[in-house]
């Protein structure tokens, strides 16, 4: 969901180099020589066809791509996107026929609704059994029959607070604490429509996927009420501002937590940043692999997805991406300390009231956007 800040810059350079590399070797396959000059792969990449992969920037350990090519002989053409919204029109228009794509929950639902996805053949994905049933069950919110998607990463949205600025007895437990006057000028909110409304709707006890105009209006008024207390509405900057001690409390994606904990330790800061999953429930997001309907190499794509589900590979990717993995096999391979890191792998019980974002259709989206504008203009 939320990429790391440097992803943007890195993605550009990476994409450029990968596309170049991709061009180079696809040229080789066209010649029929299969003579790869850029790596000493044992199975010549391309000898078993190709797979076109479209993934988030910074969302895979690159070594995994090489390993896949080596083991299967399938050549990987790897491209990256920054947002779901950027990815969607490319798949829809069929501008390039991607075989495996990794969108988020609500976007997968939109793609299913608009008939853009192919049903997966799970016989070709034996490692699917490694995925924790908990996340397969949660995926039903956007993929009701679990026919189209294989979970790749997941996480929550919660409250991050600075232990030196928040007294232990004031430690936040729920979204309502973001309306506490004690934190006036010390609150960082997410600057995106659905995330901001999720906070207010959950604080009110409503569903974060509500389509009810009255409930939304109440949430809007609550956000307007909160605005004087808010220091700033930010997206990726929450992480750096919180590390820098700019604010006491902020709304953040759990995927950032490992980085934050490492950074706080590296900088030798005299405070720590704690992550809380609000008791009212929050957004559980899942990014999953899907295969578009217009894919040319469906079986190769299934091999790709299966490879990513292999526990050792999933572990490599987790260590690189640091977003929680739904892969039970990979989880079992991790150090105990990481397994017990509640910010990354929260207890299932704390996710009781959580929901997954659903695509609500254009009209409801418009309603959210209009109300968000009202909040921002106050």
């Amino acid at each position: 969901m939320r990429r790391k800040i440097y992803a943007a810059t890195l993605a550009v350079t990476l994409a450029a180099s990968l596309i170049l590399a991709g061009c180079g070797s696809s040229g080789n396959t066209a010649n029929g020589s299969g003579n790869s000059d850029q790596n000493e792969a044992s199975a010549a990449p391309g000898s078993a066809g190709e797979v076109y992969v479209y993934n988030w920037g910074e969302y895979i350990d690159e070594e995994v791509i090489d390993m896949f090519e080596e083991e299967t002989g399938i050549h990987v053409v790897y491209d990256m996107f920054e947002t779901n919204e950027e990815m969607y029109p490319i798949i829809e228009a069929g501008a390039r026929n991607y075989d495996a794509v990794c969108p988020s929950d609500y976007m997968i639902q939109k793609m299913i609704t608009n008939d853009l996805l192919a049903e997966l053949n799970f016989d070709n994905i034996p490692n699917y059994k490694e995925i924790d049933p908990e996340y397969i069950e949660r995926s039903r919110e956007f993929d009701p029959e679990n026919k189209y998607s294989v979970p790749y990463t997941w996480g929550t949205v919660g409250i991050l607070y600075n232990t030196s600025m928040v007294a232990p007895e004031d430690a936040p437990t729920g979204w309502n604490d973001l309306w506490d006057e004690k934190f006036s000028g010390e609150i960082l909110m997410q600057d995106s429509v659905r995330d901001a409304f999720m906070v207010a709707l959950k604080a009110l006890g409503y569903s974060m996927n509500t389509e009810d105009a009255d409930e939304l209006a109440v949430a809007r008024d609550l956000l307007i009420e909160q605005k004087p207390l808010v220091q700033a509405y930010v997206v990726d900057q929450v992480r750096d501002k919180m590390i820098g001690g700019e604010a006491a409390i902020g709304v953040i994606y759990s995927g950032e937590m490992l980085y934050i904990q490492e950074e706080v330790a590296n900088l030798g800061l005299d405070y720590s940043l704690e992550y809380v999953i609000p008791e009212e429930g929050t957004n559980v997001w899942i990014d999953s692999w899907v295969i578009p309907k217009n894919a040319q190499n469906k079986e190769n794509a299934e091999k790709w997805i299966d490879f990513l589900c292999r526990p050792d590979i999933a572990k490599m990717n987790f260590e690189y991406i640091t977003y929680a993995t739904p892969n039970k096999g990979a989880f079992d391979l991790l150090d105990e300390e990481l397994q017990n890191n509640k910010a990354v792998f929260p207890d299932i019980e704390s996710l009781q009231n959580c929901e997954v974002f659903r695509y609500l259709g254009e009209e409801v989206d418009q309603m959210y956007n209009d109300m968000w504008k009202e909040v921002k203009s106050k």
């Binding site: 600057d191 995106s192 700033a232 700019e246 989206d365 504008k373 921002k376 203009s377």
Partner: protein, 270 residues
């Protein structure tokens, strides 16, 4: 004939990258998402949140323009008095930061102004009271003034350096004091530069969304932010275009002002 041929590439450039995009904005602005003709996107400026955003943008960019003018005029006079060589070196110093990316410079201001930022660090070290202007309209005005000041200095310096010393000396010989010379000689002769500078500061300040996002903490919605949001987040290109057309009215007004007062293009910056 050969002259016309030479104009070809520029013609293609202007048509491809100015005229056609502009026509597309007009088309989007005057149609609903279904493609039917409508004025609703234009009329939407009257909605309270849009009207407020426009009003705020006008106010902040007006303040910035006035501040820029007050800072730039004395500076341009000083530059002129230092003669061509030294003066143009100082002008060069003013242009120098513009070689760096606009976004980076604005981000730098964020780091400077933050609660635990550089400025507050220095103030704290000196046991002085800290400033708290980040995420306020004042920070936005500061960002506008910093980013657009060169656009005011350059045209002013340009017109002032063309004023003949004899004109000034004549005024002084005839008994005018400094203030009278300023009001009756300096300012009237620099009107083209002033108008050009005002336009070059006011128009980008009015339409900015980056400065208000970065220095205003996204808490202060300017009309530029509304338009940006319609294009990038809400996906409502029609409304975004409609509001852009409304903004264009203000830009046209300022261009007409330039046309009226700066007929010979004396005040152009470069």
């Amino acid at each position: 004939m050969s002259r016309k041929l030479l104009a070809g590439p520029y013609l293609i450039w202007v048509i491809g990258f100015t005229v056609i995009p502009l026509l597309m904005i007009v088309y989007y602005g005057l149609t609903a998402s279904s493609g039917a003709f409508t004025l609703a996107n234009i009329a939407a400026i009257a909605q309270p949140e849009h009207a407020k955003a426009l009003w705020l943008a006008l106010l902040l960019s007006l303040i910035s323009t006035v501040v820029c003018l007050l800072l730039a005029f004395p500076l341009a006079m000083i530059l002129r008095s230092r003669g061509v060589g030294k003066g143009s070196f100082v002008v060069f110093l003013f242009i120098l930061p513009m070689w760096m990316n606009f976004l980076l410079r604005t981000l730098a201001w964020q780091t400077l102004l933050e609660k635990n930022g550089v400025i507050n660090g220095i103030l704290g070290f000196l046991h002085l009271p800290k400033i708290a202007i980040i995420n306020t309209p004042a920070a936005i005005v500061l960002g506008m003034v910093y980013n657009f000041l060169p656009f005011m200095v350059l045209p002013l310096y340009n017109v002032l350096s063309k004023i003949d010393d004899n004109t000034i000396n004549a005024a002084r010989d005839l008994g005018a004091n400094f203030f009278q010379t300023l009001v009756w000689v300096w300012i009237p002769l620099s009107v083209p530069g002033i108008i050009s500078g005002i336009t070059m500061v006011f128009v980008p300040a009015l339409t900015t969304f980056v400065i208000s996002n970065l220095l205003g903490g996204s808490k202060i919605l300017l009309i530029g932010n509304v338009i940006e949001q319609e294009f990038t987040k809400s996906g409502n290109w029609n409304l975004g275009s409609g509001l852009s057309l409304v903004l264009m009215v203000f830009i046209l007004i300022s261009m007409m002002l330039v046309e009226k007062y700066d007929k010979n293009g004396e005040g152009t910056a470069f």
